[in-house]
Subunit: 454 residues, 2 copies
């Protein structure tokens, strides 16, 4: 097992988040109002989202956005997180590659999600909110926001995707222990949920659908804003503390990554680790290969289409320019609930369009093979989501071995899997499905969003 | 929430464990062979336990025992652990007390148990073992030893107390993910288990019973030793890294604890945090109040009797001089499975007998009230075991408030409760029983061990 850790002090916690949009030559297209087909205005977004978050969403000029002192102070609860050289995994693979991982699983709620949850709860409080709503897949975001809401004295309602609600009951319990209200989605409590349940009574939910429900509740509740754990620019922004720390830590290790890998659901942990390194690619021409590890069951970057689409199932959000599988896409019930989202967000989509990154997809069995090897060689049981990144890191390390060359690989361990042990049980019992999606399914779903093609 | 952490570097990981017996004026009585009624010999213990562990058990002269380099190196995986000033909890209690906790929950398996698991697996490997056995209650020890066994290439069989096996299925899965074999105890696979199941078919098990089964399997397996996660002197010894680090960290904080609190099952985390501070009480006369937080369902220190007794249900172990409720005592099915042990071990029992420490008992509801307040104010969901320590710390802090005086309180957060969320669910639903034991039950059980009275 690895004992090579690179540890920073509290002084090294970044004082500003990195806004990659400012450095992009080809900036993302603007989000569009579905009714007017015009770029959304600050005012219209502020009906749903906290003011400062909307400003961050639309900021295309400032590369650095100061982290409010109360938020940075709260980061000290668990940050800086360790960077670890995975010597145990390297040995198990017998590879000349050097594998590093940034360990975001050490946060009290078990994932990187707290980086943005604290910021979003803070800004909502600043805005005079008493209540907030959100959606969650596997529950990592919901758990983080429950803790953050408690800190800032906000009442929180979480729509948790039904399949995860049943697969991961302990994450529901964690949210409830922090005092949040958790509703399985689709639910009868919203118009969006009722419609889906009426059309498909056994519907197990998706992130897209849970977002619709959470947005609807926020719109109907006084002093309430909607928050979300991925996809939007401000979430990516807040997560850059991961990569900014990792940059310093790689320097301590005396190496620079040849490749950076992170799992990909809506882009939050991916952007967090990748953007600070992509900054050098954009500004100093320092090369690095950046790979998003998608589930084979929800491969929007690998097999989706770049166009405008809604961020949610019911079509409450603005139209986002992004790689998408269609906002009505219903992924298979894989255990990596955090990756079951149909779209990729506008920044990441633009980066991929411009060839600054690429995606690889991983099926559920390969992800759990990788997870188990990692657990046995590094002592940490990874979240099913993070296991996709591990799987791609292993592919790279084995390729380096085959080609007899050193390669420096950095991946983000976005969370631990201690609440996901039922998934490991299925894997051990040989019951786990491989997952995936047919080309016909993708084509059918994309057909339903033809009208938003660019 | 608290962001006041005191962080050490890898260089600060202790190089030697502290053996408190060397500094005790009234040393513990020797363990006895139940057949000969003579002190046990090194040779007889070595039939069950690794040689070096037996030496540590019987060492009454060396105050410092060097930590083998490979073990100390593995400690770097997660050590040093943080010391945290619980300002969030202080605020919630509105107390003038300063509350500190040593956060042992940050280990990859979620508790302090890894401190001794790595050492025991190392010594068993040194001894030429290919297989080891153990028992586990809530599964914290079993999970830690599963990870340690994987590191040293040992095959591990774990007898997990049946009530916990069903209450905490995810800890079973964690052990299995690391490659261990897990058997619910009492089982039909051993003579001891069969006897209990025949006498009481619905028996939900106890640590004492699981120990019997694990010892029996070890005795019948070639190249196999038995290991255990608490009670014995060497376990307490290995855990002193906790207190040795905490000593340095309290110095960084510029305070010295007036009271030290830890939950108490067999004594491992308690000894770990307390012994290094008791050292000063023994050698420099530096006063500190030391309190063991017991579950009201298993109050051996508060209501047990000091005498010789077996460490296990079937009577395979030597007779240990300790506070006990009788080795056939079957505690109620509280969720703090790690505290369901009938005896206190010889060192702690002697310390209590000599007035160097005391115990308080906590019922299950008070423990979960404390756990939930802690989660909401500090962001960490504590293990049900650790919650007993938090409950006593809260009692102390409220007393200090009542009396209007400052008090410096240090408790050990022995583990997190992320695998124990079913218990929190019961608590939230109002289904949790208060726990406890009647005086008649204790009297009846003590009567059955009259023959071993001192």
């Amino acid at each position: 097992m690895s004992t090579k850790k690179f540890i920073l002090t509290e002084r090294d916690i970044p004082t500003a988040w990195y806004n990659i949009v400012a450095d992009m030559t080809n900036k993302p297209l603007p989000m569009m109002d579905p009714k007017t087909k015009q770029p959304v205005t600050e005012e219209s977004l502020q009906q749903i989202f906290a003011k400062e978050l909307v400003k961050q969403e639309l900021n295309t000029t400032d590369a650095w956005i100061e982290i409010p002192e109360p938020v940075r102070d709260l980061y000290k609860i668990w940050r800086p997180t360790p960077l670890v050289r995975a010597t145990g995994l390297e040995k198990a693979l017998d590879t000349p590659a050097h594998i590093y991982f940034k360990n975001e699983s050490v946060s009290p709620v078990g994932s990187h999600k707290l980086n943005s949850a604290l910021a979003q709860a803070y800004y909502c409080k600043q805005d005079g909110c008493t209540n907030i709503t959100t959606e969650t897949g596997a529950g990592q975001w919901g758990a983080a926001l429950s803790m953050a809401s408690k800190i800032f004295g906000l009442e929180l309602a979480v729509y948790m995707v039904k399949v995860s609600y049943h697969q991961k009951p302990y994450r529901r319990s964690i949210m409830q222990t922090f005092g949040a209200q958790v509703i399985a989605s689709p639910s009868m409590s919203t118009k969006a949920g009722r419609k889906i349940l009426t059309d498909t009574p056994n519907n197990q939910g998706s992130l897209g659908c849970a977002i619709s429900e959470a947005v609807e509740l926020a719109m109907q509740t006084p002093n309430c804003k909607y928050t979300l754990g991925s996809v939007f620019n401000w979430v990516n922004l807040h997560q850059t503390v991961i990569g900014l720390e990792a940059e310093k830590q790689m320097e301590m290790a005396g190496e620079y990554p040849d490749s950076i890998i992170a799992c990909f659901g809506g882009g939050s942990n991916f952007s967090g680790i990748a953007f600070p390194f992509l900054r050098h690619k954009l500004t100093d021409g320092k090369d690095v290969e950046v790979i998003a590890a998608e589930p084979a069951s929800c491969p929007k970057l690998s097999k989706g289409r770049f166009q405008y689409d809604f961020g949610d199932e019911a079509g409450y959000t603005p139209l986002i320019p992004m790689y998408t599988l269609g906002h009505k896409f219903m992924p298979s019930n894989i255990h990596a609930g955090g990756l079951r989202f149909h779209g990729a967000g506008s920044i990441v989509s633009q980066l991929q369009k411009n060839g600054l990154m690429r995606a690889e997809d991983v099926n559920q069995l390969e992800a759990f093979d990788a997870a188990t090897l990692f657990a046995k060689s590094e002592g940490i049981i990874p979240a099913p989501e993070s296991s996709h990144a591990i799987a791609v890191a292993i592919r790279k390390a084995l390729k380096a071995k085959e080609e007899g060359r050193k390669e420096v690989i950095l991946f983000n361990l976005s969370g631990h899997g201690l609440i996901d042990m039922a998934a490991y049980d299925s894997y051990i019992a040989g019951d786990l499905t491989v997952g995936g999606v047919s080309d016909e399914d993708i084509a059918r779903n994309l057909k339903s969003v033809e009208e938003f093609r660019i």
